[in-house]
């Protein structure tokens, strides 16, 4: 029974990571909060994790703004190779 509530740092930080995506279950959150009571290191990890999530989110927003394309030159290259393959197949 005790093991159900008292988890290792590895497990606690896994839940902490999961909760950054709001996908930790209610019971997992309880396990995590309980762990924080006696583990200051994981509590610190959690605080830093929140900061990092914000950083990742800002990167995600930047990434979504740009749609990257293959250059025309590279497209021609692929076309040529496709032609080549086609002549081989027929």
């Amino acid at each position: 029974m005790a093991n159900k509530f008292f988890i290792s740092c590895d497990e606690a930080t896994t839940i902490c990571d999961k909760s950054q995506y709001k996908e930790a279950s209610f019971f997992e959150i309880i396990q995590l909060k309980l762990h924080f009571l006696f583990c200051k290191v994981c509590a610190l990890y959690s605080k830093q994790n929140n900061f990092l999530s914000k950083l990742y989110k800002s990167k995600a927003t930047n990434c979504k703004k740009q749609s990257i394309c293959i250059s025309a030159k590279e497209k021609e290259e692929i076309k040529k190779q496709l032609e080549h393959l086609k002549s081989e197949l027929s």
Binding site: D17, I70, I78, K86
Partner: protein, 188 residues
């Protein structure tokens, strides 16, 4: 009403579909050259198996399904022996300390001024560097989940992994990223 039969026009594949397929690929593998190679392989495979095309799905849907297989093949390749050795552990794996932080990897306090610096360009470059240092499969899963905002279920389906498998990888990626950012940025 007769069902619409789709026909393949390989001569127009590159013009019509390469950008779409490329963006599909790069959202998953996070690497320009690799994404380009996968698209190219998709066209090649498509051409070779064009005679098996039944015309039930659209040309693009059919090409995407080939690309998806190419991506999962790539994931399996990086998930094999090579990917496993590179992981840096943050927790003891066995013994009486199992699951506890390894001493030299215990999180350290950061300079509080960093809380304001999220829009800092150098900080962003540092993050890109740290992501590039992750073993490829961790980078792939982390990016799909965190940067591309894929649903857990979707990633599991596309890479054929379980959700607990996914969370272990996210966890390892994030602890490793945290350590890398700490060493290179927050403890200056």
């Amino acid at each position: 009403m007769a069902e619409q039969q789709h026909i393949l026009y390989p001569d127009f594949w590159v013009d019509k579909h390469s950008d779409y397929l490329f963006n599909f690929a790069i959202a998953r593998v996070n690497n320009y050259d690799l994404a380009k190679d996968l698209v190219q392989e998709t066209f090649f495979a498509g051409l070779k198996s064009a005679k098996n095309f039944e015309g039930k799905a659209s040309e693009r849907t059919w090409l995407v399904s080939i690309l998806k297989r190419k991506i999962i093949d790539h994931y399996r390749k990086i998930n094999s022996t090579k990917g496993k050795a590179e992981v840096k552990m943050n927790f003891y794996e066995d013994g009486e300390n199992e699951g506890s932080w390894i001493e030299e990897r215990v999180p350290q306090s950061w300079d509080n001024a960093t809380e304001k610096s999220i829009e800092n360009e150098e900080l962003k470059q540092q993050l890109d560097y740290c992501i590039s240092k992750l073993p490829e499969k961790y980078a792939m899963v982390f990016t799909m989940k965190t940067i591309q905002d894929f649903e857990t279920e979707e990633i599991c389906k596309e890479l054929d992994i379980t959700s607990s498998n996914l969370w272990v990888m996210i966890h390892r990626a994030r602890t490793q990223l945290r350590k890398c950012m700490e060493d290179n940025w927050f403890k200056k």
